[in-house]
């Protein structure tokens, strides 16, 4: 019985993120369109796209290997598991101790590893270009992320997300320089990781500077659906991560009853809406970078993260 009670938030969380991910993407698209004075697609358009893709047959290149066919599921699984471990509406996730923040970062790394491999499988020049740039971006984004994790861990005394969130919720933190730096850095990493403007443009094809879309060019049908879903999950994941660390208000504490959980879910929706809007505003107000400007952008994130960690190493009061 205990297990079921404990399992409920966890299972709910997994389903919730899965269901919400396309919604968030759709929401951002709508807001962006509105900001551009367009009507934009309906809010539920991502769901439709996914369903349509799922129904279609998958077209594989002649020399695509088993890796090409397995990769979408692995990518999806890795992202989903990572997303399932981030407190969205409550900190009492049953399996949160099975992977801490470092492990979550690494899980996303695993997903990216397979995505990049899949891009190279068919042996086209577009796939190669995408993979090559993706890993290049990752070489900055991952260390930056680790540095952010360091900062958070040093503040909260733990790398467990639930503990961090609980600590932030307790209110003993106050405003800290290192925390601010970490927030900025994390936002930059999140933008890069999700292939948003100014790093990449999720809405274009056939542009030489594209990264993510170039990798998945050979995918179709259900495989493409899984990859699209993973990308949406990832966006949601980062938004949730920022939300749970920096705006932990409303999170249901461990072992709380259903009421706080419902409050938590409500708060979560609100946070997502705010974040989505902010993202859309940011994306419409900035131009895309050349690909070799990306290292500078992410290098800045890395330096901010390192600075934050250094400050924390120097003194507890930063």
């Amino acid at each position: 019985m205990d297990v079921i009670v404990n399992l409920a938030p966890q299972a709910g969380q997994m389903l919730l993120v899965l269901l919400l991910a396309p919604l968030l993407t759709g929401f951002v698209r709508i807001v962006k369109a509105r900001l551009l004075r367009r009507r934009g697609p309906p809010l539920l358009q991502p769901y439709r796209d996914l369903l349509r893709l799922l129904r279609k047959e998958a077209v594989l290149a002649e020399n695509a290997s088993w890796l090409f066919r397995c990769a979408p599921y692995l990518i999806f699984a890795g992202t989903w598991v990572a997303a399932a471990l981030i407190p969205t509406f409550g900190t009492g996730l049953m399996f949160s101790w099975s992977a801490d923040l470092i492990a979550i970062t690494a899980l996303l790394g695993s997903a990216r590893f397979f995505l990049a491999l899949a891009g190279m499988d068919v042996g086209t020049s577009f796939g190669g270009i995408g993979s090559s740039r993706e890993v290049m971006i990752a070489t900055f984004a991952e260390p930056a992320m680790i540095m952010i994790v360091f900062t958070l861990a040093l503040i909260a005394g733990s790398t467990q997300l639930s503990t961090i969130a609980g600590f932030m919720l307790s209110g003993g933190v106050g405003l800290r320089v290192s925390l601010g730096l970490a927030l900025v850095a994390l936002t930059m990493v999140a933008i890069a990781e999700n292939a948003r403007i100014p790093i990449d443009n999720p809405a274009t094809h056939l542009e030489l500077t594209m990264v993510h879309e170039a990798m998945v060019l050979e995918y179709s049908g259900r495989h493409l659906a899984m990859i699209e879903l993973s990308a949406m999950l990832k966006l949601l994941l980062y938004v949730s991560l920022i939300a749970c660390v920096f705006t932990p208000w409303g999170l249901a504490p461990d072992g709380a009853g259903p009421i706080p959980h419902f409050i938590g879910i409500g708060a979560y929706f609100l946070k997502l809406a705010v974040a989505g809007t902010l993202l859309a505003i940011f994306e419409t107000s900035i131009a895309k970078m050349r690909v070799f400007r990306v290292p500078e952008f992410l290098g800045a994130a890395l330096m901010l993260g390192l600075l934050a960690a250094l400050l924390r190493f120097m003194s507890r009061s930063f």
Binding site: E57, A58, V59, L60, A61, E62, N63, S65, W66, Y73, F76, A77, G78, W80, V81, F95, W97, S98, A99, D100, I102, A103, L107, G109, S110, F113, A116, L117, M120, D121, V122, G123, T124, S125, F126, G128, I129, S131, V135, M136, T139, F140, P143, M147, F150, S158, T159, Q160, T163, L217, E218, S220, R222, M226, F292, G305, A309, L310, F313, R316
Partner: protein, 675 residues
């Protein structure tokens, strides 16, 4: 079950067995049956030693009585002892040896001149075992250099390639340099009276500068063998030159023997470290990790890529060692235990996946005759088992969950997060910076192996040899599958390994990590559950279950139709496989970003004039700055001095007499002045 007291003799008998095999190899000559018999024998012998060492390890921190043979330096004798640390390294060595021998039963058949490999291979194994068993400085150094020498012979096995002769030369020279450094270190510790046994050395007390000097010398000595930047130059030359199963052992196991030497001297013999020594080790480790992987990223030769990746992993290990030193200097036992456990875990892990990867590279090499990645591609179709195991190795070495490489790096990160309490300001700057380097190297490693696996196994074949490759033999396959399985097991059950390592740590520093066997659900908890925990098994099951459920659901409820067609490629498919991304083009972004300063990378494009039908050319010039700034000047100095002194060979007799005369006058003057 044999009693632990018997383990040392059993391992020593195994060493004798190796030496016997070496003699047998000479006796068997070029008989066709020699290869399977010898490798089979080596496999069995190493298995025996492995089991013995595991028993010793499981029996706990119990130190077996040492063994002294009346050999070596007469008044000291040859000492052997097997404590927990030695047992662990014997286990690592003989695990690697057993699997490599198994692999070589099949792989060894491709050898053209087996007599250049067979006698030295068991001798090499014997040498590595002896190093970790040695209980006095002389035995240690003899075994150490014997190990270098036998591996040198293996590097020279394919001597008709002039590059290999050069590789062997640089290798043995660096190895000798390292041995001499260790010799000096031991000489300093033993003192003028020559107390060379480890017991004597351990009881002695060393003043500050002696300890500092010893540490510096051991860093040079063990570091040159391990491949610490800037002493790494031999490694990417020598490791790929040897036959692949030997490369696997050199990279996966021999570098670990060097780590053993460092741990033995610094943590066991030398006593209390000083905090600034950890700064040096940390800095070297961080630089090594990043530089190693950056070098790896620009290699085209798959074996050289793996060799440079070894440099990177040695860097990670030394970061861990530096952390352990920093904690120990400040008496933070829990931190020392965590960092050292991370080190030993990474030692084990790296020996597993690096052997696996070299086996894969060897399989590719024997199937295609190519090491150049730009002439490979598409092998996943023709060599599925090799491709699969290589993929497992690649994921593991990229420190990605749920495989084993991640666990040790995760623990190193945890150790870093423990360090803000250390009082020294230098460490407060150094440790976060090194942490960033560690994270950077992990990310670069992933990029490196996406490239390594992707270019070699994925895409379309870039040359005829790759298109006609055939899967490797059963023995090699089973060796690779075994290692892949071990990578997975070590990744999902790290708690078991950590508990097995506890006696090693206990005996070294008098403390240990908390017992992991009690933690529910097989998680690992380095310090406290509220602080951090990781559960490889659950992560693995989670991923497997999610992927499986997703696949099942989609195939059940949605389409499972598949149609094969030509590649889409945005509508511009090109039939030539040369239009694929190559090894060079894949690393271009990273080369541009990091390489401009570190390698002085310069790209040059030569376009033909309009109307000219000649091809355009693109060239990249890379420089190895370590070589240019450190080794080339040394070679230049030696060469210059040799050239200058060489005039003395061509003097006339009168001038030679003048030399004698001058010597006489100088000596008489010395007498006249000083008497």
């Amino acid at each position: 079950m044999m009693p632990p007291a018997m383990t040392l003799p059993i391992i020593l008998f195994s060493v004798c067995g190796f030496l016997g095999l070496a003699v047998m190899a000479v006796a068997l000559g070029s008989s066709r049956r020699a290869t399977p018999v010898l490798y089979g024998g080596a496999s069995i012998v190493s298995l025996v030693a492995l089991i013995a060492s595991l028993i010793q390890l499981v029996a706990g921190g119990h130190v077996t009585p040492g063994l002294t043979l009346p050999m070596g330096v007469p008044w000291i004798g040859v000492h052997f002892r097997l404590d927990a640390l030695s047992s662990f390294f014997v286990a690592v060595i003989d695990l690697g040896a057993a699997v490599a021998s198994l692999y070589a039963i099949g792989y060894g058949r491709h050898e053209h001149e087996p007599l250049r490999v067979l006698p030295f291979y068991p001798a090499f194994l014997a040498g590595m075992n002896l190093v970790v068993l040695a209980g006095d400085a002389f035995t240690f150094l003899v075994s150490w250099e014997f190990m270098s020498l036998s591996s040198w012979a293996l590097v020279m096995a394919h001597h008709r390639d002039p590059g290999n002769i050069r590789a062997g030369y640089i290798y043995l020279l660096t190895a000798s340099f390292g041995t001499l450094c260790l010799l000096l270190a031991f000489g300093l510790m033993a003192g003028p009276a020559g107390g060379y046994t480890f017991e004597t050395i351990r009881t002695a007390h060393y003043s500050g500068w002696v300890a500092a000097l010893v540490l510096a010398l051991v860093l040079l000595g063990a570091g040159s063998k391990a491949g610490l930047v800037p002493l790494h130059v031999w490694l990417p030359l020598a490791h790929p030159a040897a036959p692949s199963h030997v490369s696997a052992l050199m990279s996966g196991v021999m570098t670990k023997v060097a780590v053993y030497a460092f741990i033995r001297v610094v943590f066991d013999l030398l006593g209390e470290p000083s905090w600034w020594s950890s700064m040096v080790v940390l800095a070297l480790g961080g630089v090594t990790a990043v530089l190693g992987v950056l070098y790896a990223l620009i290699q085209q030769d798959i074996k050289r890529l793996l060799a440079y990746s070894t440099v990177e992993n040695i860097g990670i290990i030394y970061i861990g060692l530096g952390l352990a030193l920093a904690f120990q200097a400040n008496g933070v036992t829990a931190g020392t235990a965590l960092a050292l456990t991370a080190v030993l875990l990474h030692v084990l892990n790296h020996s597993l996946f690096k052997s696996l990867l070299f086996f894969g590279a060897g399989a590719v090499l024997s199937a295609t005759g190519e090491r150049d990645m730009d002439r490979l591609g598409g092998l996943i179709h023709r060599m599925p088992v090799t491709a699969f195991t290589f993929l497992v190795g690649s994921v593991a070495i990229s420190a990605l969950p749920p495989l084993n490489g991640f666990v040790s790096e995760w623990m190193t990160f945890q150790a870093i997060l423990l360090s803000p309490n250390l009082p020294q300001w230098g460490l407060k700057f150094m440790i976060p910076a090194v942490g960033a380097l560690l994270a950077l190297s992990a990310a670069l490693a992933a990029a490196c192996f996406v490239r390594g696996f992707g270019i070699t196994f994925l895409g379309r074949p870039r040359a005829q040899a790759a298109a006609q490759a055939r899967e490797t033999d059963r023995f090699s396959q089973s060796a690779m599958l075994l290692l892949a399985l071990l990578c997975l097991l070590a990744g999902i059950l790290p708690g078991v390994v950590i508990d097995a390592l506890a006696p090693v740590i206990q005996s070294l520093i008098g403390g240990r990590m908390p017992l992991q066997g009690n933690v529910p659900w097989l998680s690992i908890v380095p310090i406290a559950a509220s602080r951090s925990s990781y559960n490889g098994l659950l992560v693995f099951l989670f991923i497997a279950a999610s992927a499986w459920i997703a696949a099942l659901a989609i195939h059940r409820f949605a389409s499972h139709a598949v149609r094969r067609s030509a590649a889409w490629d945005c509508g511009y498919p090109d039939p030539s496989p040369l239009t694929q991304y190559s090894a060079g083009s894949f690393s271009q972004p990273i080369r541009r970003i990091y390489g401009a300063t570190i390698f002085e990378a310069r790209e040059r494009i030569e376009m033909p004039a309009p109307g000219d039908t000649g091809p355009a050319r693109f060239r990249v010039d890379l420089k190895d700055l370590v070589w240019d700034w450190l080794y080339a000047p040394i070679a230049g100095i030696v060469n210059f001095t040799a050239g200058r002194l060489n005039h003395l060979q061509f003097l006339t007799i009168r001038r030679y007499l003048s030399l004698v005369f001058v010597a006489l006058i100088v000596l008489l003057l010395v007498l006249a002045i000083w008497m």
